[in-house]
Symmetry: C2
Subunit: 333 residues, 2 copies
DNA sequence: CAGCAAACCTGGAACGTTCCATAAGCGCAT
DNA sequence: ATGCGCTTATGGAACGTTCCAGGTTTGCTG
């Protein structure tokens, strides 16, 4: 039973403390049973041996891992914010996170597969690109929560994106803007609803005639391209709402190079309130998604599913709020 | 033996295919032995049951996980680049990555501890803040590679930081600059050597009298504070080298607000060539660390240690190279 | 046709935990 | 004394794999 060479096990601690494996196990897990005195003896024995429980064996036996798998785009500023908040939310619920990143040469399928093998108890997908049917299939294998995007037939936690654009447009009209354009996110998650929100808000302000949607995307480059098109127009807009912060920085760059002062000549509103927007150098007015609430809900939903709880509303929609920084100002006269 | 309810196991597949557990195990691992026909039969049985091997049980038995633990700062643009490259490097060596992020409310110790429990075979620490002694202690438990920083007594893969600042200063003097200041990284990993590189390079160019080091840090805010101090000087520098890209964006912001044109009035050089520097809106001249090489070396070293190979030089130092973008230009007349 | 290797397959013992049923010790009321 | 209940401790069976030491076939050689 004595272990030569490699790491110490429960039995090593047990023999050293002169008790049984089971007793050590109880102490390690802080379960009631062992007396204070024995507990102490076991603890010091474990310490002297440098014992650390083997989580794999532990979970193999217990059938539980208390592990939530998270798929996220590591290059994606907003996902980084989500993961940061997920760590706190998970901790509060007594779970750990297993991260699996999507990178330029590691796609979502690969990231997901590696988590499946790890026996996570549930999956949280940050703004996945996998189609809804694929996500639904996944959900049959494992509780799956889709975060920050919509997907029929899945558990969804997302922002009321249309509402976000309403707030942006309200803010801009309040500043006197009328020619407000929208650079959209193409087929990216959330793009359709943000576009719709923009249109509705414009209509609500009686600015239906000024609606202008320009094809964009989620990268700086795509934002920049769209911005160049807008700048070249005969009567360019005095304000632009952009699909996300990243794309918005591309827009800001084009405006600066074209000699348009922000916000004096033109106002810009981003989306996400990612780290990017908060950079002093960018200081972007943006629609903030409520990351704290969203991640709490996501973890709660995952845990509910794990526990087999009843789930009534599959989609939970969190209101956004506008964060006003320095890229929006009164419409030029 | 038949499994009710939860996920199928080896034995389930075995009974369905009418063979033994062991045989199925061989097929699953693609080991030689089973005939082509049986192999096929097992494979379809597994497929029909939706069988997926349990990696925990697998590694509990085999003692190996083929898992490299990675500790990194998720908010840290440069670490994100490292992780992205690490995924490729690990894949090439037949290993998987287990990520553990450091966030504002999850410190390095916590991130490290969670990996230890996971029985990774080695640890890769991206620019850790843990003191060298702590890292050395860690290394006694588990092969540990320190990436992108120096640490006595540990396996280290890092950039020749002094050399990087030499290149930056060479570039600037070549453009006619003489009053070149350095905003440093305080006690951050690498800061001391970059500072030294700057001093040496200035001296080598006979500019010892113009040496000016301003206390900074690794965030935008710290860069901004330092820049404000520089701008207020009677004869401000015509060029600034900054500890990292993130801090440099803070510097750029202050300069812009102070009405100093970059690079016409003043040049700025960052460090890391992180995503940040490449943003169209920033387009920062910067010292690029060779992420691909560094991560390859880090994985190779980790694998060597795991295999118990002889290690001769514990520190491996990778040369950086300057990436010239739009924040540097000729010294003003 | 015995003998033997090669090719294919199997049973059961690990791996380090947790879980369960049960035992030992002790105080106290009957 | 006996029985009861409480607290504390124990042994051994899982969990789903891999590994090892065989066991059957089969076909070929001498």
């Amino acid at each position: 039973m004595a272990n030569t060479g490699s790491r110490p096990t429960l039995s090593d601690v047990a023999t050293r403390a002169g008790v049984s494996k089971s007793l050590v196990s109880l102490v390690m897990r802080d379960e009631p049973g062992p007396s204070a005195e024995t507990r102490q003896r076991v603890l010091t024995a474990a310490d002297e041996l440098g014992y650390h429980p083997d989580s794999r064996a532990r979970l193999l036996r217990s059938g539980r891992s208390r592990l939530l798998g998270v798929v996220f785009g590591i290059q994606h500023a907003f996902h980084v914010d989500l993961v940061t908040a997920l760590y706190s939310a998970a901790r509060d619920s007594g779970y750990e996170l297993a991260l699996s990143a999507v990178t330029p040469d590691r796609d979502e399928a690969e990231a997901t597969a590696s988590l499946l093998a790890d026996r996570c108890e549930a999956l949280i997908m940050c703004g996945p690109v996998t189609p809804a049917t694929g996500l639904a299939r996944l959900a049959t294998r494992l509780p799956t929560v889709v975060l920050a995007r919509d997907a029929r037939g899945a558990d969804v936690i997302r922002t009321a994106d249309a509402e976000g654009l309403h707030q942006a447009v309200d803010h801009l009209t309040g500043l006197g803007h009328r020619r407000i354009a929208h650079i959209d996110g193409g087929r990216a998650p959330g793009a359709a609803e943000r576009r719709r929100g923009y249109r509705d808000a414009m209509a609500a302000h009686g600015l239906g005639d000024h609606v202008q949607v320009v094809g964009g995307g989620l990268t700086e480059e795509e934002g920049a391209t769209a911005a160049r098109a807008l700048v070249r127009q005969r009567t360019p807009p005095t304000a632009i709402t952009v699909f996300n912060d990243r794309s918005a920085t591309g827009v800001l760059d084009v405006l600066a190079r074209a000699g348009r002062k922000v916000p004096e000549d033109i106002s810009v509103v981003g989306y996400d309130d990612s780290n990017l927007a908060r950079l002093a150098h960018v200081d972007l007015t943006t629609v903030a998604q409520d990351v704290t609430t969203m991640t709490k809900l996501a973890v709660a939903r995952a845990v509910d599913r794990i526990d087999g709880a009843e789930v009534t509303r599959r989609a939970q929609i969190v209101p956004p709020h506008l964060v006003i920084r320095s890229t929006t100002g009164p419409a030029p006269a």
